[in-house]
Subunit: 249 residues, 2 copies
């Protein structure tokens, strides 16, 4: 039986805390559900950490498994979200080219800062089988712990790329992908033709999409009452993605 | 010039903290936007509290205005959400009868526990001019600080009632309102007839709606890929409310 890690200064726990904070090359998954989803999706953990009162989940190779004493465990994870299990993975990398290559509809997020909203949009993309999500500059990292939670783990099974608006626009142009963007002055989404390979950009609430995207894209809007200034970006994306699916099957 | 409140034990600040925590008879609004929305809507504050470095907002009557020193202010409000301004109001009360009386479509939430989701649904109801929202038992209070924030202030301008499922079902039956509920086995929402006065119940993610509602309501579903187990309730409500509006104008 392996000795539990008791020191919060253990090098693995330090590495885990750094990944939870920076989520650059390595990311942290929390809880048995996220871990089992990742394993089922063929992802290999760098390491799995289990609190000493919790059973090691199935499918975890012994050489990557660590048992951690409660006190030290609390320095790396929240009790309710982790349920005593966290895992370190290499950050999944999906290129813009491979996402646009699928020919399926895509959603791009421009400067959407709230990680919960970014996660919710990835969950919608998975639910309605889009080709993926592109997080443009200024958008919260889809692989932060909060975004992963907001996606209910869907970031692990859905292609998600991160790139600049200019690279994104160049790629869409090169592939001839029809580009749409949410803009308050655009016609209602109910009145536009949405092709099956549409790429739809959603901007941040209030500020909308960047000028270079406005210039390149066809505008549409979701007509709402003047009783609200804007919709939350995740609920707006839900309506857009539903319309894409409803009309193009 | 009024002397600022400097003690965190001041009776007004105690009352404010209690309202933020319990939000039963009194509720707390945070920030200049929520306050001005409430004033524009004809609501009268019980008291307005302004940090001593912030200007008193327009439209606040002198007899209800208090200036609060920074240190004491921090015991009642978060800096970023309040921007130095919080206000105490009597809790708005809307009866189930008055909401169902309007004849407009309604959304009811059954045991939706996340206050951010409850607020997001109220914001959608305002955006698409529904008659209102009914928060059934087990649903997070729509007037908690987090729900008010999630609604972007829309709880102040949208009728929101709280009642038991049995009172709600009796009221719908009495008025002959057609009742629908999201259930995984139901036909796609794209394939059902949604009348203009529909009342739609959304349950919590995973658990769905209560048995007594299942029995009384016509089922519908939002067809999604098996890559996700459920949709977030706010994004599911966005799709349902959009369909209601799109089809019935």
């Amino acid at each position: 039986m392996q000795e539990p890690i008791t020191s919060s200064e253990n090098r693995w726990l330090k590495r885990l805390r750094r990944a939870a904070e920076r989520h650059d090359e390595e990311i942290v998954l929390e809880g048995p559900k996220q871990l089992s989803d990742a394993l089922a999706h063929g992802m290999k953990p760098i390491a799995v950490f289990v609190r000493d009162d919790v059973e090691m989940p199935p499918g975890v190779e012994a050489k990557t498994a660590f048992i951690v004493a409660d006190r030290a465990f609390r320095t790396v994870a929240d009790t309710s979200t982790s349920q005593g299990i966290v895992a370190l993975f290499a950050r999944p990398r999906t290129s813009l080219a491979s996402i646009t290559d699928s020919g399926r509809a895509l959603v791009a997020l421009d400067a959407v800062q709230d990680p919960g909203n970014v996660g919710a949009v990835v969950r919608l993309a998975a639910a309605f089988e889009l080709g993926g999500v592109v997080a443009l500059s200024g958008t919260a990292d889809p692989f932060s712990p909060r975004a992963i939670r907001g996606s209910a783990g869907a970031v692990l099974t859905t292609p998600v790329a991160t790139d600049s608006a200019s690279a994104f626009l160049a790629e869409c142009a090169r592939r001839g992908r029809p580009l749409f963007a949410a803009m308050p002055e655009g016609p209602s989404i109910a009145d536009i033709v949405l092709p099956r390979d549409a790429v739809v950009v959603m901007g941040s609430e209030g500020r909308g999409v960047a000028p270079e995207i406005r210039e390149a894209a066809r505008p549409f809007s979701i007509p709402t009452s003047r009783r609200v200034e804007s919709l939350n970006v995740a609920t707006a994306a839900a309506i857009v993605i539903w319309e894409l699916r409803r009309r193009t099957g």
